[in-house]
């Protein structure tokens, strides 16, 4: 799992590369737990290279969801592969989180 991020003003784009399993979830959790993450108003998660997400990986997003919502930070997933999206859907997360198809769409939704 490789986690990289790109900062553009108030927007941080986090790119996930590989499989988000129990061990790499810890890395992601550390990344999302950093205090400076609260300085952004939009967090875009690029899932183009995310091949697999385990329940632990989902748990990380779920645990931060409420916090971001309270701080009015928008969390948007984009470029998600079909099988990963299916996992989100089965769990019902697609109705809870914003999942869009492309970066442009994500930016549009973020700026609404």
């Amino acid at each position: 799992m490789k986690i990289t991020h790109q900062i553009n003003d108030k927007t941080i784009t986090i790119s996930l590369d590989g499989e988000l399993d129990a061990s790499s979830s810890v890395m992601l959790d550390e990344e999302l737990s950093k205090p400076e993450i609260m300085l952004f108003s939009k967090i875009l998660v690029d899932c183009e290279r995310l091949n697999y997400i385990s329940s632990a990986g989902l748990g990380v997003f779920i645990s931060h969801l409420q916090r971001f919502e309270d701080a009015q930070i928008k969390l948007i997933f984009f470029n998600m592969q079909e099988k990963v999206k299916n996992v989100f859907e089965i769990l019902g997360l697609d109705l809870l989180m914003t999942i869009v198809s492309s970066y442009d769409e994500a930016m549009t939704v973020a700026n609404e």
Partner: protein, 688 residues
Amino acid sequence: MPNPVNFKKTFLFIAVLSWFLLLGNILLNHSQSQLSASLAGVSDYLNYILKAAFVIAIFMLQRISVNSIKGLDFIGYLWKLFTRAGITAYICIVLYLGYEVYTNYYTDTNLYLLEVIYTINFAFFIYFIAKAFYIWRRLILFQKTKALDFEWRWFEILLYSTILLSIFRLDYTSIIFIPLLALLALYVLFLSSHLKWVAYLTSGKRWRSIFLLLAILLSQGIFIWYFTETIPETSGIQLNYLDDPFILLAGMFVVTYTGISFLVAFFSLPTSSVFEQKRDDLLNFQRLTQLIQQGEDEQQVYKTLFDSAIKASNTDAAWLEILIDEGSEVIEVLNLEESNIVQIRNLVQSFIITNVDYINGNLDNNIHFKALQLPYKSIYVVPLKSPQLRTYGVLYLLKDIEQGYDRETVNVIRTFASQTILTIENLRLASEALQNERYKEELKIASSVQDSLIPKTFPRDTWFEISCFSQAAKEVGGDFYDFLQLSESRIAIIIGDVSGKGISAAFHMAQMKGIFHGLMQDDLEPVKFMVKANQALTHCLERTSFITSALYIIDYKMRGFFFARAGHCHTLYYNSMTEETFYFNTDGLGLGIIRDQSYGKRIHNMHYDYNPGDVMVIYTDGIVEARNIKQEEYGEDRLREMLAQTYHLNADDIKYAIINDVNDFSQDMPIHDDQTLIVIKFLNVQQN
């Protein structure tokens, strides 16, 4: 092979018999001094034969008896030689003096008595030489090599062959034999250079051995003096016993070896402490390694290191501290006050790099140390660190002389330190292994407890068949299923999957079972159950965990079922009327994701009327996410395809068909998530 005891008796018998015959013959010769020349020749010859028989018998007797002494008790050997054989020299001198006194006061000379005493003393002498010869053999062959063994055997063969010279009455002083005998004498000198045993004497034993060797030398001196000085040529003795190459050579060997041993033992006295030190080091080293096998604890290992290091370096003051979570703890101290330790440690830490051996042999030059007014002039600091650079503790050694720690000592102590680390690490590994074993046991228990939480048999009824399969990826898992008979015609079936794996998942799974049985007593409809369960889990699920679940309430009178899906895998269904196989694609959020009242909006009740012959397949994601070697997932499509092919079978066979297909798909890949599969087949109600 005859018993050695029999041999002993035989030799003893021969020795005694030949000695008495020898004495008798000699006395007889004296009484009949006017024997004819030919008869005198025969009698003389008989003397030589008897003497040779006696000597050989005594030597053989000693060869057997000394051989049976075992062990490395060198002092014991010497002591035995002195008490059993050396003492005969003094008896010899007493007999001689007695004879002198007797002849001075009562008679002139008594040739018979002289011959008797002379022959007795000869017997003593041979006994002494033989015993010494074979005890020296033991010492020479101590830690023998093959070559040495061989050399000694030849020495014995050559030596014994010289007996032939006297039996055949050949003149050994002739020009032919002198060089040969001289060569043999040189051989004796060569053999006498094997003195390894001396090095193994501790200094206390060395002194005792020197005195014993001196006493043995004295015995030899007495014998030599007796046989050479007190028996004049003119005394009329019939046979000069010592005029024999075998006895001369054996005697020479015994005297030479005793002499050399004495000198070597005496002159190696100053160096013996070095050898002792080395041997102690070795023994301590051995002790350190053996502590693991003896099941000792770390304290014992550190103590052994401390004691060994002090002995090896002759240190005046020392302490050993081991690192604990915060700072360090002094566990062993020698000749130092607590305050001194703190002062020295602070000083040392101020000018050394940690984790490196530090030696200072000139503490006088250090102003700070001098200010402490301690009598020590050398310090050696040894950190106890593993090859992975983990430091376990530090050993401080102090001496009151300059340059007190030479390279040799440092090497020994360093070896002790590394052996200690090895021992400590091995001890820890051993205890960890034990701990792991215990954990495994506990996991086994957890596994069996969890196993008991999952129902093994479903209620059997005529209107449906049910078949279940469950397999955890680890000893315990997060998958669960259960049922509850709500009324005569209604049954609740629940399936669930706790996020994560292992122990934490297993705990939540048990919780979920409790919630199911607790809430369903009130016969809740599925959505109500999910809302209440979500609320209940809010207080006992950590933030990153969630549970997916689906609850089905089947009513066979109504031929229908209600269900709600809380984020769980879609239910697979075969409809026998339409002959379609499909998934119920309903919405529903997992439990524990939203932890407030709004959860109720995220879950929905579904109702479906079933027909006899319909099949419902309920499973967890371990089934559809099973992977093959190419990391492809089994997937919902393959599962649906399997049901489409097997719906006509009974529930058990459908289950086996699916499980076999999943296993064929994933081949030898280990399962990475718990797998649960429940197949329900609805039947026509049979009238009883």
